[in-house]
């Protein structure tokens, strides 16, 4: 009991809970198939996780502030489109590193700008974030369809391939990018003034405003940064698939919200950390890879993700009740 208590304080209840879930999933799959606990399986998981992971991080901070960003997928697509069009302008497959840097810059600017606009609407016009981002989503989807006529753009320089499929010291580059952003996100949220303001706004926007927090600037910052992370995801998607198409990853939109809630984020905002969300992502990835290995398809994995979230929420509810009754008795 004391060991459990000590672990609880060191790692955090939420992390411990999710680590338990992850352990159950891993043990379950490794006992049912020998293919699960292998280097190649973990390698492919490490390549598949980052895109969903980055998009989830982009979704996470708006949820922490009490909102939602439904435009993330198309922000990523449009940013990828910006990168692609710069690369195509500089010769497609022959484009050099300079063109790539310029393209990345363009992608980041496009992502930031779309987020900035959304933040502006949310902060100054008081529009509900769900509605503002929904309108932005429809707009960006339309913009992408208009620009690409529904087709896809491909033919990127070979080093993009390395970025999407290569490794440094055995660690996949996409995973490094994801972990870097996750760490940055953690530092911003736990150790910066902006992060503090995010939590305060999520808890009570009125009270934060009266306490001298610049709520409008913080909200704009939240959506701009979310857009920047979307752009990084978009660049990674372009590198992974070696093509850009508007609508790529559309199915991931609600999965990112699911991952956030699984990671213990309060749906009303104000509470939640980066580490549990990363753990939740690992669990989802392990579930889908494991199900793939035992012969089920991605659709069954989607269903299991949904049922898993319900199960976890039910367990949390039961744990909270148990905690309450125990406290009352003492």
């Amino acid at each position: 009991m004391t060991l459990l208590k000590r672990a609880q304080t060191a790692i955090g209840t939420e992390n411990l809970f999710l680590l338990g879930g992850l352990a159950v999933v891993i043990i379950g799959f490794s006992s049912s198939t020998p293919l699960f606990l292998t280097g190649s399986n973990f390698g492919s998981m490490a390549f598949q996780l980052p895109v969903l992971g980055l998009l989830t991080l982009a979704m996470m901070v708006p949820i922490l502030s009490g909102g939602l960003n439904l435009a993330i997928i198309f922000q990523a697509n449009i940013a990828g489109l910006a990168l692609a069009s710069v690369l195509i302008k500089f010769g497609g497959a022959e484009a050099g590193y300079g063109a790539f840097a310029l393209g990345v810059l363009a992608a980041l600017i496009v992502g930031a700008l779309s987020g900035f606009l959304m933040g502006l609407v949310v902060a100054y016009l008081g529009a509900h974030p769900i509605l503002a981002s929904l309108a932005m989503m429809i707009f960006l989807r339309g913009l992408g369809e208009f620009l690409t006529k529904g087709g896809d753009i491909s033919g990127f320089p070979p080093f993009m391939e390395t970025m999407g499929h290569g490794s440094i010291l055995g660690v996949p580059i996409p995973l490094l990018i994801f972990l870097g952003v996750a760490l940055l996100w953690h530092i911003i949220l736990s150790h910066s003034k902006h992060g503090f303001s995010v939590y305060m706004i999520g808890s009570n926007i009125e009270a934060s405003e009266y306490s001298g927090i610049n709520t409008r600037r913080t909200l704009i910052m939240i959506y701009t940064l979310s857009g920047v992370v979307c752009a990084i995801a978009g660049i990674l998607m372009a590198a992974r698939f070696n093509s850009v198409r508007v609508g790529h990853g559309e199915a991931l939109l609600l999965v990112t919200v699911l991952a956030c809630f699984l990671g213990g984020l309060d749906p009303f905002g104000g509470f939640g950390r980066v580490a549990p969300v990363v753990l939740a992502l690992c669990t989802l990835q392990a579930l889908s890879s494991g199900l793939n290995l035992i012969g089920a398809n991605q659709h069954l994995a989607t269903a299991v993700w949904g049922l898993f979230l319900i199960g976890v929420m039910a367990l949390r509810w039961a744990a909270a009740r148990l905690y309450l009754t125990n406290n009352r008795r003492n």
Partner: protein, 341 residues
Amino acid sequence: MRKALSANIVEIRLFVVLMIMIIGLGLTTDTFLTVANLTSLLNNNSINLIWAVGLLVVLVAGGIDISFAVAASMVQYLAAQIFGVIGGGNWAFGILTAGSLGLGLGLINAALIHGFRIVSIVITIATFNAFFGLLMFFTKGRSIYTLPDWWVDRIFLFEYQSASGVWSELHLSVAIMAVCLIATAILIRRTNIGRQLYAFGDNPEGARRAGVNIALMQAIAFGWCGMMAGIGGLMQVNIAKEVVPNALYGRELDVLAAVVLGGARLGGGRGTVIGCVLGVFFVAITQNGLNLLGVSPFAFQMIIGATILIAISTSNVKIDMSSLLRRPQKKLKRGSNNDAT
């Protein structure tokens, strides 16, 4: 009268904008104000409207439902199986089956939301994934084309041939839509339960202390939304003449945008059936108008998105002006489950 005006300011503003659009399109194109165009507008949007009023009841009760469109797909598939086993059926039986299947799926949402005291967006995103994943898994993504005749045969309520020989007609779905609209309006505006739904959406804890049965409220709101989803799904098959498991995927967000545009408040306690109609037709007529004006179809979605963005922006600005002293509603109101332990 003034009170009624200020209480429905969003609807009135949208109505005025819609009227301006209709008059503008009527003057600039000679095809907009024709019987053929207006009937096809009605036919094409009847399904969205059925879903919109279902979602409205959930929004009024302070919840949100992401899962209704895939629930509709699920109902279509299950209904096709049931009709196949029974070998026949008719419209009355079909509506009863689809309605009860949808009701059942809605009640699953309600039971999870109330039972575990989890906010509706979490549960409906979970059930969205569960429903869609299971549906795609069991159907293997295959469509069903062999459907009973009564289901896919067109029933015309109204037929008219213009002088130039263009046929225009109203389908059965328009009549079902009208019934759904009226039934929803009666439910939320004319019954005791409707008053309780608004009270519950506006202030769940206050309503609970005033003696409102919150479990019943969740069941009615999500059950009604599910039932409308099922009926809408049934009618969609009548138009599409096939059951495609992922055909309705993604429609939920479009319907949500239209309903909220029509004045329903995310967070509960506000929204009208008229607003739903205006919201759905605002989007539909924008698209229809762009089409008739000869704008490239690839630009439709972009312009619609921009229009919604402008519409929500300006509607919030005006509210700000009219009540400068009160602060605008910035945040999702504490949702439907404040009674959580």
